[in-house]
């Protein structure tokens, strides 16, 4: 018995700490299907980090894909680390315990690479937390040959400038394509230059497609006031970027994103990790396609992941069965930006519902366009009395929806709702955004009006055929302009404007005929305006992030940890203002901080879309006709769908 009781992997944390902290399962690794590689036997140890709590990080498909890929590489060991929760964070600081990876329990600092996925801006202070707890210098310039290479990836790398000083490099685009090349380069240079390898590797890595090494690019700015060295050519450009250029001639001035063109012939885990502690997404995730044909003008994902590339039906059927068998999960869900646009959706969903649903496994459907097909499959997999149908009109009036190019009409929504009501549903969820460009009072009021119209439609059903009272739940977030969207130039609303709009919206709900059937909630304005600065910021914002972190900011994405005042103080100290980064209309000739990145979709197209938006003109989706966005350069996907 005793041998088994003590059959414990060597853990980085002493038992009395693990017994003290909330959910110690976050820190022990050893999950089902873990690679559990041999640290000492590997040529390269890569530590993958999701800078948020374990349950969030374990729900992320991208890490599972890359983890699986790295561990399939010869002599590479990939382990993982997540942000320690606040309770353990304090203990580790008090006792000076270095942060460790969960499987090998080895200090993060002992790894060759620390790869940090950047999924949302509000995780930036957690990046600094992970670095500091790992005893890795926060600034790239302070790191030595004894520190890992800190590399960032994920959607936020489409403008990594605010955090550029904290990273040695960024991988721009999809991770499946260049890592083998990058690791081989690393091994070669480390072998040739055991001392001083770091700077040589950074220089050489900057030549690898998709790799951006921020320290090898220089930025200068126009003076904010007259009389300086670099006067702005016109007042609008005061304080903006004057020049952004590589410091060496042999590294590229622009970095093109990496992209996988054949999604059937690439890495995809058949044995995803299954954590002991319940992940936020405790289910098998099947990524059916990448990219989106729609072209909503506020949506960054819809632009940066172009062109749309689908996985084949056969690939997905095969992976679905294998992943369910290998994990024992009781639920499978589809992942994509717009599942209704997947060419084989009906066949796939029917296959899953017919072959997998039942036998204790649920098929959870993503938000599909509400029509006869989706209502039919939904009625087969969920209890209509409990379930709800979801629409994302994003704006309250048709005028506003034309501005944002959201191709969902009032008629679609009302018709879809009435079909859902006829089939027995009585709950509708609606997602809106407040603060999009050109928004008027009428557009804000339109949110309540549209919600009420849906409720009215319900009450057209004869009383004896209704399923109780209808419940329409509308929620709104505040619009944050993002890089590589047609709205990258636009003015973002201030915190005060946002709150006024939300109050106006709320007041209008109270006036509606069916007010008792309507609910309205809105997202926090403080994090929205901050996200605005972090999303479109330049390198000068880095100092504010650093100061906010030093004041104790971590877990900013968590309402209970977020301290807005600390950020305001940090802004004040570093000269970062909401006025400059959020509340200013940028002009076409301004050099945007992310202009050196080439995501396929070009600036001219985005500018044209910005003009069309202001004129309220819509642009058709990729399958209706090519709008010439530029993603054609990748030579595949939807751009070549009907041209064999």
């Amino acid at each position: 018995m005793d041998s088994k009781v003590n059959n414990m992997r060597k853990l980085a944390l002493p038992e009395e700490i693990l017994l003290k902290v909330e959910k110690p399962a976050r820190y022990i690794g050893g999950e089902i299907n873990c690679a559990c590689g041999d640290f000492d036997d590997a040529d390269v140890n890569f530590c993958m980090c999701f800078p948020d709590v374990y349950e969030i990080g374990m729900s992320h498909l991208g890490i599972q894909i890359l983890y699986d890929m790295f561990n399939s590489f010869d002599r590479v060991n990939c382990d993982r680390v997540y942000s320690p929760w606040n309770d353990l964070d304090r203990i580790m600081r008090d006792r000076d315990i270095p942060l460790f990876a969960v499987e090998t329990q080895r200090p993060v600092r002992d790894f060759d690479f620390l790869g940090i996925t950047l999924q949302y801006e509000m995780c930036y202070t957690n990046v600094l937390q992970v670095l500091e707890l790992s005893h890795i210098p926060l600034f790239s310039r302070d790191r030595t040959d004894d520190d890992p290479i800190v590399i960032g990836g994920g959607p936020c790398t489409y403008n990594p400038e605010p955090i550029a000083d904290f990273f040695d490099m960024f991988y721009i685009g999809e991770g499946e394509t260049r890592y083998r090349q990058l690791l081989d380069l690393y091994l070669k240079i480390k072998n040739e230059h055991p001392d001083g390898w770091r700077s040589i590797f950074l220089h050489e890595a900057a030549k690898v497609p998709g790799i951006y090494v921020p320290s090898l690019y220089e930025v200068s700015y126009y003076d904010t006031e007259g009389g300086g060295e670099f006067p702005a050519p016109h007042p609008e450009l005061a304080g903006t970027i004057r020049e952004f250029r590589p410091v060496y001639d042999d590294i590229p001035a622009t970095v093109r994103k990496e992209i996988v063109m054949d999604l059937d012939d690439t890495y995809y885990p058949e044995k995803p990790l299954v954590p002991y502690a319940r992940a936020t997404q405790d289910r098998v995730v099947l990524e059916i396609q990448r990219g989106c044909i729609r072209g909503c003008r506020f949506c960054q994902a819809g632009m940066i992941y172009r062109p749309v590339r689908e996985r084949s039906l056969e690939f997905l059927k095969d992976k679905a069965l294998k992943m369910l068998k290998n994990t024992g999960q009781d639920e499978i869900t589809l992942s994509s930006l717009s599942s209704s646009d997947y060419s084989h959706l009906q066949e796939l969903v029917n296959y899953l519902v017919d072959n997998i649903h039942g036998r204790g496994i649920n098929v959870s459907l993503p938000s599909l366009r509400i029509d006869a097909f989706s209502l039919d499959v939904m009625s087969r997999v969920q209890d209509v009395r409990k379930g709800s149908v979801t629409f994302a009109p994003e704006a309250g009036t048709q005028r506003m929806r034309n501005v944002i190019n959201k191709g969902l009409t009032e008629e679609d929504i009302i018709h879809g709702s009435s079909e859902a009501f006829a089939a027995g549903w009585n709950k509708v969820k609606l997602y809106f955004m407040l603060g999009q460009p050109t928004e008027t009072t009428e557009d804000v009021e339109g949110i309540a009006v549209l919600s009420d119209l849906i409720a009215r439609k319900y009450y057209e059903i004869p009383k004896d055929k209704r399923n109780g009272r209808v419940q329409v739940s509308a929620s709104s977030s505040f619009f944050v302009p993002k890089p590589f969207t047609p709205f990258q130039w636009c003015r973002m609303n201030s915190r005060t404007e946002f709150i006024e709009k939300a109050k106006l919206c709320k007041a209008n709900f109270a006036k509606m005929l069916n007010a008792k059937s309507l609910r309205y909630s809105w997202h926090d304005a403080d994090t929205s305006v901050l996200e605005g600065v972090l999303a479109r910021g330049d390198r000068r914002v880095g100092a504010a992030i650093y100061n906010a972190y030093k004041k104790g900011c971590i877990y900013d994405a968590w309402t209970e940890s977020f301290v807005y005042q600390n950020w305001l103080d940090a802004f004040e100290e570093t000269g970062v203002t909401f006025e400059y980064y959020n509340e200013r209309v940028r002009s076409f000739d301004e050099i945007l901080p992310w202009d050196y990145i080439d995501c396929g979709v070009n600036k001219k197209f985005l500018w044209l879309e910005w003009q069309r938006a202001q004129e309220g003109r819509v642009t058709g989706n990729c399958r209706m006709g090519c709008a010439g966005c530029g993603a054609l350069v990748f030579g595949g996907g939807v751009c070549f769908e009907n041209t064999n």
Binding site: K4, G30, R278
Partner: protein, 241 residues
């Protein structure tokens, strides 16, 4: 058919909680293709019930859960298959058929065996065995126990069915289950109070050894209530011979 499965919990997996253990075994049933029964409805769940939750930080040789199944493998084959898809620190030890009218382990559990040790033996200045024997030599050991009716004074001694101490550890069989559940921590708290010892935080290393139902004047382990399955069969085969 009803089946009772016995498992152990060791090493770092003592840090996963009871709900995590339940979810773990639900997934293990699917990975190992156990023909378990599901409830009806839109969110079917496995017919599975655990005898007694095990707290975070406690290891065990003898945990149980019961399932209902449509068909079964032999005991040997099922244990082999479950372990093939499980992890070494959550080993499956046994898999037995229960009578059709058997109550769940949760319903019949009456006692549990524990062994407890001090986490920091160097702090313990007294003779564990001697002090324990003195402690148990008291006529009564009164404790306040919360019941549905409020607080009630109980003689803890009547709830400690067997006990033995040596120089480094104390073993005892305690009343366990929904009626009167005596925790090893409660016993040890009372013992330290008796000795006048100030325990450290997380003073005890606790290991559970076995769970029992009442049987006549004594106890029968939950596992012994089932029978070994020599050959797999399906519910449809029943009554053929």
């Amino acid at each position: 058919m009803k089946i009772r499965i016995k498992f152990g919990k060791y090493g770092e997996l003592k840090f996963i909680g009871h709900l995590d253990v339940m979810r773990y075994f639900q997934k293990l049933m699917r990975r190992a293709d156990i023909d378990i029964c599901y409830s009806k409805g839109f969110s079917p769940h496995q017919i599975m019930s655990f005898a007694q939750p095990l707290g975070i930080g406690v290891t065990s040789d003898g945990e149980y859960f019961d399932i209902e199944a449509h068909s079964t493998l032999s005991t040997d084959e099922a244990v082999r298959r479950l372990n093939e898809f499980s992890v070494p620190n959550l080993p499956v030890y046994d898999y037995r058929l229960l009578p059709d009218d058997a109550k769940t382990g949760m319903a019949v559990i009456a006692a549990a065996d524990y062994i407890v040790r001090p986490r920091y033996p160097e702090r313990v200045y007294f003779d564990i065995k001697k002090s324990w024997d003195e402690f148990m030599a008291q006529e009564t050991i009164l404790i306040d126990k919360k019941t549905s009716a409020g607080e009630e004074e109980l003689d803890m001694k009547t709830l400690i069915y067997e006990n033995e101490a040596d120089e480094g550890s104390i073993s005892f069989r305690l009343s366990c289950g929904s009626v009167i559940n005596l925790k090893p921590e409660t016993v040890m708290e009372k013992f330290f109070e008796f000795v006048g010892y100030e325990p450290a935080e997380f003073e005890l290393i606790i290991h559970r050894k076995e769970l029992y139902a009442a049987a006549g004047d004594g106890f029968i382990s939950l596992g012994d209530m089932g029978t070994v399955i020599d050959k797999g069969f399906s519910e449809d085969d029943k009554g053929d011979n």
